[in-house]
């Protein structure tokens, strides 16, 4: 079997440039520059009430003038905050990405023969977060402030409901409209906040060119992700990827529909060059079909293996960096990690495009016992091109039938024009299938 795998990560970048702006916290800017967080990635490690959350964002811009405000379900201390490694999230993204698989038909005159090859690619949004430290602030109790890595972290008390907003105002930050209302609601639900600002000196000392992801470990019965603040300083819909790492099985939302994206679909060969567009348009169409109110499942798999692999499974060391606390410490040296031994970790990748209108409530999750593997997998089948040595009339006809079926499926999945799709398909034997007899209503709503 000749298989070609292209991980979807490159197209993540495409999506970012077109849609953009997301985060479970919100940014507050001092300068009037457009400071929008873009596609966000959140890793949720959860077992019982223990949670480790890693938040990565590809913020680009001047980091000195802004802070990020992050709600957490419980009071936290210095030791509960950490700065993570962006590369691990990139690896997790590559491992779980929807994949394009390529097959080549064997010589139709011989027995079907296939071999296998794979390629993976990763290029991922980075991380960003900041905070501001202030010695005193009128009427606001600052419970603690620390420097963690390149960040200054400030934990604010919930003693006064408007403490956080006032503190931000006092320190010259611009607050998104509607923020006070949401902050008050979170405080009413016993949530706490921390503010992160880049410590410029520490950052230059450490020498990172990008912002590393922030991690928080906490114990809370709330298995949720606060997204309401993230809708405040966003223009339009936002893109969020959630990777849940659990012990038992797949994670799903309890207050929104979790829907599997169409998978194992055969697509025309030209999709290889337009995989980003294909995936983006398919995602948009599926979102539309669910009235913009669904969370999509893109990957659900036991971390011990993959088939086909868009990237190797994460090593135990990487998983522990992400906060998978139930794994042991028997790290192997890097050279031995070619066969990663991750066990007892089930990964669920969810993708949601949201705004306040369609997702009024925060995302609530539950872990299910479902360990069935699922992956977004799209298949290209190339017809035989070489010398055949026999009459190919029958083979060509069957290939044309397949190509026409693929064209219709593609139109249906993406909303692309069927005529344009047919133009791009090199039909077998150079004969386009008869489409003139298509009833007039077939393309009326597609």
């Amino acid at each position: 079997m000749k298989i070609f795998v292209t991980a979807l990560t490159a197209l993540v970048t495409v999506m970012i440039t077109t849609t953009a702006q997301a985060f479970c916290g919100f940014y507050v800017a001092k300068a009037d520059t457009s400071l929008f967080n873009r596609a966000s990635q959140v890793v949720l490690v959860r077992d019982d009430d223990r949670t480790v959350i890693t938040m990565a964002n590809d913020f680009e811009g001047n980091v000195e003038d802004f802070a990020v405000v992050i709600p957490v379900p419980t009071m936290i201390e210095r030791e509960q905050i950490n700065v993570g490694d962006r590369a691990v999230i990139q690896h997790l993204d590559a491992y779980t990405s929807p994949r394009l698989v390529e097959y080549h038909d064997g010589n139709p005159c011989h027995r079907y023969e296939l071999d296998e090859r794979m390629r993976s690619d990763a290029n991922l949004p980075a991380a960003a977060m900041q905070l501001k430290r202030s010695a005193k602030s009128q009427g606001v109790t600052i419970e603690a402030s620390y420097t963690v890595g390149e960040y200054d972290i400030l934990i604010l008390s919930a003693a006064q409901s408007d403490g956080l907003i006032r503190w931000l105002n006092d320190n010259g930050y611009k607050i998104p409209r509607g923020a006070k209302r949401v902050v008050d609601s979170y405080l009413g639900q016993d949530m706490r906040f921390f503010v992160a600002k880049v410590n410029v000196q520490e950052r230059s000392k450490l020498g990172y060119q990008y912002l590393r992801p922030l991690q928080v470990a906490y114990e809370s019965n709330k298995f949720m992700l606060p997204i309401r603040l993230g809708t405040l300083n966003a223009k339009g819909k936002q893109e969020l990827y959630i990777y849940a790492l659990t012990r038992t099985g797949r994670v799903e939302t309890t207050n929104y529909r979790t829907v599997k994206l169409p998978t194992d679909v055969e697509v025309p060969a030209f999709v290889e060059g337009e995989f980003g567009d294909f995936y983006r348009d398919m995602f948009a169409r599926q979102t539309e079909k669910e009235n913009g109110r669904a969370v999509f499942l893109e990957y659900a798999w036991d971390m011990a293996w993959c088939d086909p692999c868009a990237a190797d499974p994460l090593s135990q060391k990487e998983l522990r960096q992400l906060g998978v606390f139930w794994l042991g410490k028997n790290d192997r040296p890097a050279r031995d990690t070619l066969q990663p031994q991750a066990q007892n970790v089930f990964v669920t990748r969810l993708h949601v495009r949201y705004d306040a209108e369609h997702f009024p409530e925060d995302l609530m999750f539950q872990e299910t016992g479902d360990r069935q593997n699922y992956q977004g997998r799209y298949v290209i089948r190339h017809p035989w091109k070489g010398e055949a040595g026999c009459d190919l009339t029958q083979y060509d006809a069957s290939v044309r039938e397949r190509q026409e079926r693929e064209a219709q499926l593609l139109a249906n999945l993406t909303g692309w024009d069927i005529g344009d799709i047919r133009e791009k398909i090199p039909f077998a034997g150079g004969i386009r299938p008869e489409t003139g007899k298509e009833p007039w209503w077939k393309r009326l709503w597609n």
Binding site: R181, D184, S185, G188, Q189, S220, N221, K222, F223, M224, T248, G249, E252, T253, T254, N255, Y256, R257, T258, E290, N291, R293, A294, E357, P360, E361, M364, Q366, T368, G369, D370, R371, Q372
Partner: protein, 278 residues
């Protein structure tokens, strides 16, 4: 064939509505019900009902209630193990014969099976979000249609539960200063509607007196709300019902009413019936 208005046993309508929901869930929403589980639940429930009928010495085998329990279980229970689906049916139907107070079973069969399995196994869960809000409109109309067809007999449990629960959700939103779209979204939940129309409404496991049923519905709504929003656990209503069920004999002792009989839903008369009817 009888005209619809002449059918007195509301279970026919329940079966029709639940079957429609199941077909809709499997065919259109594709929300992960394995047909093997459905078959296993259906057959095991009838077998358990049959054995229970023989052991309890009941005059005749009645497949209707067991069928309704099977349909509710199939709609709500998710498991990757067929053996757990069978266990659910045995627990549900078996509980009717085993856990009884004064000739009345204590727990709603589907409810006790769901909670037992969720507590004992990681392989059983309820996917409460899988209905989606788009389907809810049609779903709600179907349930209302059911109320109309059964002339809302003993519907006060359903109406009171939904009323109290909605009041708590809207009250919470007002208290937190949240937009009203949040409680509206929380009410647009398929599992909540199945619970309200086909589980807490069960006349066999709710108090005999109308006032008792309203009090009971209020208690369930309050506990469900606390589980959902103080303990942040999903499936608040399902857990609340099992916690409240032991109150029913106490409420029955305080408030006189008529023990419900499926065949005679309008019957008035003695509180106690001879024999055991399930």
């Amino acid at each position: 064939m009888k005209p619809l208005s002449r059918i007195r046993d509301p279970r026919y309508f329940q079966i029709a509505v639940l079957t429609t929901l199941l077909a809709f869930g499997i065919g259109i929403l594709d929300f992960g019900i394995h047909w093997q589980n459905a078959v296993a639940i259906l057959l095991t429930a009838q077998a358990t009902q049959f054995i229970g009928t023989r052991l309890a010495g009941l005059p005749r085998f009645d497949p209707m209630s067991a069928l309704i329990t099977s349909l509710s279980l199939t709609l709500l229970l998710r498991t990757d193990l067929v053996v757990l689906a069978c266990a659910a049916a045995v627990i549900a139907i078996g509980s009717k014969f085993v856990i009884r107070v004064k000739g009345k079973h204590v727990f709603n069969p589907a409810n006790v099976a769901l909670v037992t399995l969720m507590l004992l196994s990681d392989h059983a869960w309820v996917s409460s979000g899988q209905w989606g809000s788009a389907a809810i409109g049609a779903f709600g109309l179907t349930c209302l249609g059911y109320l109309v067809l059964t002339r809302a007999r003993r519907a006060e449990t359903t109406i009171a539960f939904l009323g109290f629960y909605a009041a708590l959700l809207f009250g919470r939103a007002l208290w937190l200063g949240d937009p009203m779209s949040i409680p509206v979204h929380q009410l647009q939940n398929g599992a909540l509607l199945i619970f309200a129309f086909f589980m807490i409404s069960d006349p066999k496991t709710t108090p005999n007196a109308a006032l008792g049923r309203i009090v009971f519905a209020a208690v369930v709504a309050a506990i469900a709300f606390i589980i959902q929003f103080s303990y942040y656990q999903p499936n608040g209503p399902i857990l609340a019902l099992i916690l409240s069920a032991p109150l029913v004999p106490a409420i029955d002792a305080l408030l006189q009413g008529t023990h419900y009989r499926w065949e005679k839903p309008d019957a008035r008369g003695s509180t106690h019936l001879k024999g055991v009817k399930t």
